[in-house]
């Protein structure tokens, strides 16, 4: 088995979109980076995400700030990276299939306007022009031109290729087994199945598995897997032009249940397939695709786009979003284990939030300016301490 470099400035654990972005931003800041992943590259949660880069689904607050900084950075990446990743600044359309969702939508739109987000309320013919195949009875929507989409695996592999071009290393099939610490408890090296890497800092970007990595360093994180199921149709002519979802989706983001919640999220991909989401369920790492959940997602999607009734379902997949009880990513140095930086807990928005997360990590490690206020995301925030003993299955 080939080994790993014996030294690095920073070791990034995890080759998902978050690890890939962290490695890239650090490499740009002239850090010598080694990315290790215990499995195949970018085959974790990132391989089961949809790739939406959304500002529309986040109420004003720190997560929206992070999302806006990220959306800008994704646009840079589209021009800056040598390899393409199907970046599509297509915009989002949020529909309201019932009265309650309508009220919630208009309220969120008002809040978004207050913080300067671009959003139009569209009705009637204008809505038909945006989405000709939307169900006839859906007559009001909010259009967010700044929502975009990427192909997450291509985006991550494009970032990792850049890291290699900048002199970094990316090593798959290399599991982190533990850490070496100095007398003050600071991390000095990462021990892996392919050897030990002495380093100045470590980034824990192990997604839903980040608590296990934290425990190897003698600390812990309240991150839990939140199962999601996606449906993929056969390739079709463009029937859906934006990322279209129902306003109720925003509520499912924060309703933490152990039974599956389903709301419709529909979008076309560059390959012509249509992705239909999604479900949210705190049920541990159970990879079973539940037929009943598949049926519910299909029914919600057909409710928004009746034309999809004839579209063939080709595949489904399941992924585990890294969920956090207070629904904010965890980004920052561990207060107990110096040198260990966490970049995790992005739940259903890690693809969208990866670039600014990476900039926060880069800012912390290299003492350079941050893209937004890092404090709300710190590991020691009070809202996390309250949730120290999660009741949901690990």
């Amino acid at each position: 088995m080939s080994g790993v470099p014996t030294e690095a400035d920073v070791v990034v654990i995890g080759s998902g979109v978050v690890g890939a972005a962290c490695a890239y931003e650090l490499a740009l800041a002239l850090q010598r980076v080694v990315v290790v992943d215990r499995g195949h590259l970018t085959a974790g949660t990132t391989a089961s995400g949809e790739g939406n880069i959304l500002v529309s689904d986040k109420p004003p607050g720190p997560e929206l700030d992070l999302a806006r900084a990220s959306a800008t950075r994704w646009r840079d990446y589209a021009g800056e990276l040598a390899r393409g990743f199907e970046y599509e600044p297509k915009g989002g359309v949020v529909v309201a299939p019932d009265e309650a969702q309508r009220a919630g939508l208009l309220d969120l739109v008002a809040q978004h306007r207050d913080v300067g987000l671009t959003v139009d309320v569209v009705e009637g013919t204008d809505l038909r022009l945006l989405e000709p195949h939307l169900a006839r009875d859906l007559d009001l929507a909010a259009h967010y031109p700044d929502d975009a989409q990427v192909q997450p695996v291509l985006a991550s592999s494009a970032l990792l290729a850049e890291v290699r071009d900048l002199g970094g290393d990316v090593v798959g099939d290399c599991e982190v087994l533990g850490f070496d610490h100095d007398a003050d408890g600071r991390v000095t090296a990462v021990r892996t199945t392919r050897g030990t890497i002495a380093c100045g800092a470590v980034v824990n970007a192990a997604g839903p598995w980040s608590p296990a990595v934290a425990r190897l360093a003698g600390t812990d994180l309240p991150v839990r897997p939140r199962k999601g199921t996606l449906l993929v149709t056969e390739p079709l002519p463009r029937l859906v032009h934006h990322k279209v979802y129902e306003a109720g989706y925003v509520d499912t983001l924060t309703a933490d249940t152990t039974t599956a919640q389903v709301s419709a999220v529909v979008e076309s991909t560059a390959a012509g397939t249509i992705l239909l989401g999604s479900s949210r369920e705190l049920a541990g790492f159970d990879p079973t695709v539940d037929v009943a959940v598949v049926r519910r997602i299909a029914a919600r999607a057909v409710r928004l786009f009746p034309v999809l009734a004839d579209a063939a379902l080709l595949r489904t997949y399941v992924g585990f979003r890294p969920w956090v009880p207070d629904h904010l990513p965890i980004v920052g140095e561990d207060p107990l284990v110096r040198g260990l930086w966490h970049a995790t807990g992005h739940e259903g928005a890690g693809i969208g939030l990866a670039p600014a997360t990476a900039q926060l990590v880069r800012a912390g490690i290299t003492a350079t300016p941050a893209p937004c206020d890092p404090l709300p995301f710190r590991v020691s925030r009070p809202s996390l301490a309250a949730a120290a003993a999660p009741v949901v299955p690990a």
Binding site: H40, L41, T42, A43, A47, R83, V153, L154, S157, L160, A161, V170, G172, D173, L231, V232, T233, E234, P235, A271, T273, L276, T288, V289, D290, V291, A292, V294, R295, R296, I297, A298, A299, A301, V302, L308, A309, D310, A311, A312, L313, L314, R315, T316, Y317, V318
Partner: protein
């Protein structure tokens, strides 16, 4: 959606599934038989549609009248419900049994026990020109002939590997297709010279009679020879034949173009594992490292997963007779598990067949070996995954420049196996390319067989609330 309950469901109405159905019904157990085709038979007993109205519908079918009469009688048994036109698109364990979701109006069923008899599909190795019109599978040529009485062309090359080659070539010759050449990438002399021990005399006789038929039409099978390129304007007009070495690499200088208007080609079979994998069945490797994996079963066809038995080619390639033997055993064992009247000696007698079949399967496995030299037949632009039109060059690029090292990452970066067939057709070949390029000891042929949606199903049919 509320699901019907049945004691036993059999998935697949080929020789294995029908034998399982018959055995279980004879033990007094009600059986639900699910299969996409309108009429039973599976691959081997393929039948023309009733509407075809041929005067003697059995005249073209070597499986004959007797078999079809028995199938009709079986389906008339009040204990047997044959749900034709039902493909199982998903399966899942539930507390109270196995849920099978079907794409017909009925939607789903929960069974106490299931026999998986989903068979195998032909494997076609890719080479430049293999997607041209006029190139079809050996089984496809046979189906045209048996099903519609149509010849694939007037100047036909049959080239590939495996036990189908000889009988189908002989059938084509008898039916008057102007066969240009019959080429076996393997060495069929190993079949016929009685080399592999355990080939039953009947099989050897079948092979010998096919060879004799071909000889009467002035043809000899060319061993260690393959069709490695095809070309033509809009459809196949010429086929390049080449000699192969033991690893199936082209022997330089041996290439010859021949004129042909059809090329029938396939290289053995790949078990259809999707349903078995969805239910968590374990796989076993084939008799050789390059052989495709199959569902692992015990002497009574049990998979080790509660309530799930498997029989026929899904457990390994062995032909129709072996499939039927295994089906009987599985049907009896599953019937007994749900309270059917099955005597010990009946079950033991059925299982004894399998032990006898073992030697044959091992011998067959050696003949069906597909070494990796075929990867070199392709050019960078040769399409490997037809549904998504992914050429070899893009797979190579993913391996060289995107860090892809395994079948799954190749799939995610190139879209190989993401199309309509979900890797059923290209899975073994993608795995072969990845193994050849990365130096892996054996292809990860099951990687693309894992697919929660076993067959495309319209969203409107899913009809959940």
């Amino acid at each position: 959606m509320s699901a019907d309950r049945v004691p036993l469901a059999v998935v697949g109405a080929g020789p294995a599934g029908l034998a399982a159905t018959a055995a279980a019904a004879a033990a007094g157990v009600p059986v639900l038989l699910l299969d996409p085709a309108a009429r039973p038979g599976g691959q081997y007993h393929r039948r023309e549609p009733r509407a075809f109205g041929a005067r003697d519908p059995h005249a073209l079918s070597p499986s004959g009248r007797d078999w079809h009469a028995r199938a009709e009688r079986l389906l008339a048994d009040p204990l047997v419900t044959h749900r034709a036109g039902a493909t199982v698109w998903a399966a899942q364990h539930r507390g109270d049994g196995v849920l099978l979701a079907t794409d017909d109006a009925a939607g789903e069923v929960v069974a106490d026990a299931v026999v998986l008899a989903t068979g195998a599909h032909e494997r076609v190795l890719p080479f430049p020109g293999w997607t041209l019109p006029g190139v079809l599978t050996v089984g496809g040529a046979q189906a045209l002939l048996k099903g519609q009485g149509v010849l694939p062309g007037r100047a036909v090359v049959v080239a590939g590997a495996g036990p189908l080659l000889l009988p189908v070539s002989a059938a084509l010759a008898r039916a008057g297709a102007g066969l240009v050449a019959v080429c076996d990438a393997g060495d069929p002399r190993r079949w016929l010279a009685g080399g592999p021990r355990g080939l039953p005399p009947a099989k050897l006789a079948e092979g010998a009679s096919a060879v004799a038929t071909l000889a009467r039409h002035g043809l000899a099978v060319r061993p260690r020879t393959a069709a490695v390129r095809a070309r033509g304007d809009g459809r196949v007009e010429e086929v390049e034949l080449a000699r192969l070495d033991a690893r199936w690499r082209v022997v330089p200088g041996s290439e010859r173009w021949v004129a042909a208007d059809a090329l029938a080609t396939s290289h053995g079979f790949v078990p259809d594992l999707g349903l078995a994998l969805a239910l968590g069945c374990r796989l076993a490797g084939g008799p050789t490292p390059s052989a495709p994996p199959a569902v692992a079963v015990d002497a009574y066809q049990a998979t080790g997963v509660a309530g799930v038995w498997a029989a026929g080619e899904v457990t390994g390639i062995g032909g129709a007779d072996v499939a039927a033997h295994e089906g009987t055993t599985a049907g009896l064992a599953a019937a007994r598990a749900v309270g059917g009247a099955v005597a010990d000696d009946a079950l033991e007698a059925a299982a004894a067949h399998r032990r006898a079949d073992r030697a044959f399967l091992t011998a067959l496995g050696a003949v069906l070996d597909v070494p990796d030299g075929w990867v070199g037949w392709m050019a960078p632009e040769t399409v490997v995954c037809r549904c998504e039109e992914v050429p070899l060059g893009r797979i190579d690029d993913a391996i060289a420049h995107r860090g892809a090292r395994d079948v799954r990452s190749v799939k995610l970066t190139t879209r190989c196996g993401m199309g309509r067939c979900q890797g059923r057709m290209c899975g073994a070949n993608v795995a072969g390319v990845v193994a050849a390029r990365t130096g892996a000891p054996a292809p990860d042929a099951a990687a693309l067989e894992r697919r929660p949606v076993l067959a495309p199903v319209p969203l409107g049919r899913l009809g959940g609330a």
